[in-house]
Symmetry: C2
Subunit: 199 residues, 2 copies
DNA sequence: AATTTTGTGGCAGTAACTGCCACAAGTACC
DNA sequence: GGTACTTGTGGCAGTTACTGCCACAAAATT
């Protein structure tokens, strides 16, 4: 890695850090791109080359956590689907646990702010599609998109519920334990399933 | 209903229609608020009073479909949870089937467009929370947020998968049939569930 | 008919984002 | 080590979504 790449990585991280600092301090809306750029000592135009939108600054941590874990799944030796799923979920949670403060910050920022929450939803949406692709390859019938989509959706649901519980615990709980408990609910059929029928 | 409300309802609908027309014709990004306002023969400032953001114009149809169905659930006599869930899902699909062209248009617009897709995700997000609240009330243990959230998430997943399949069929399939098939998969345990274990 | 309420729309302003261009810092070649 | 090429930086002007404010008009109320 040359000096150039190194400097850019540092700048990127600096911008991101300063942004979170300002967001948590003054609020997302009240913080302008110019302020962030000034705090990171770069021009606004440069900032936009690193982060194409303001929302990206908040969301990118989640995005990379998710897609890094997926990359991991792709590179690993094939495993039975349920085990592979468990492993991806664990991986995502592990990556997030790398920087718990930022996870909490993301929630704090996105909670009161619609556009950021929306972007988060989009990231999850795209990740689900990508995961569904991986799942489909591992199904008996790879063209069964419905099963693949539902399976991927379940994985996302687990991650969301776990992270949410973890955030509600103030970051004190253990994500892996929460995940195990949640998945146990699923396996034991404790989740009500819609059923046709008369009242 | 006085003349005032009537006129406003008409104006609202007119703006929405013209917007969809322009979006599908010229694309979402290429269409400006001023153009929509001009087409609907109102001032841009007025348009903003009806639809606070550009995305709202696309998303509102989905939002009302979802929340109308939820309102329905609230007003109906209590039913066993699985039956109630099935009924909500059916209701949502029914309301959407009211205007199939618009469902297809929403997908067409939101597909290539990140910000609209994101807003759609946010609507689903908020609806899931609301539905989870209803579910919780009907659980043996109303404080079991994890089960409530997962249950609500499942309902959303079904709706999403069904609508998606329906859109992929070009709008020819029957949503209720698709929904029944999808829920059957769930009931029969055909969906792989993440499981801890060694490869 | 007079008054109060409420929707309309214009104007000015903010802030996110983009294309373009000059410049400088890093890299590669001799 | 100096020169030429590549690539990140940042300033400037411009577009567009969106907001607050205010004057006006249409509708509801008395």
């Amino acid at each position: 890695m040359g000096i150039r790449e190194l400097k850019m990585a540092r700048t990127r991280r600096l911008i991101s850090d300063k942004a979170f600092e300002l967001f948590t301090c003054n609020g997302y809306q009240r913080t302008t791109i110019e302020q962030i750029a000034a705090a990171a000592e770069v021009g606004p135009r440069t900032l936009y080359r690193y982060f194409p939108t303001k929302e990206t600054l908040v969301v990118e941590f989640v995005r990379t956590s998710l897609f890094d874990a997926l990359e991991d799944l792709r590179s690993q030796p094939p495993a039975p689907l349920p085990v592979a799923l468990n492993s991806v979920i664990g991986k995502v949670l592990d990556v997030m646990a790398t920087d718990p403060a930022r996870v909490l910050a993301v929630y704090e920022i996105s909670g009161p702010n619609g556009s950021v929450r929306a972007q988060l939803g989009d990231v999850l949406w795209m990740w689900r599609d990508a995961l569904a692709g991986e799942v489909a390859q591992r199904l008996d019938d790879p063209s069964d998109h419905v099963t693949a989509q539902l399976t991927a959706a379940f994985a996302i649901n687990i991650i969301e519920v776990v992270v949410r519980s973890w955030v509600n615990s103030g970051g004190t709980a253990d994500m892996r334990t929460l995940a195990d408990e949640t998945m146990a609910l699923l396996r034991d059929g404790k989740i009500p399933v819609p059923t046709p029928g008369q009242a």
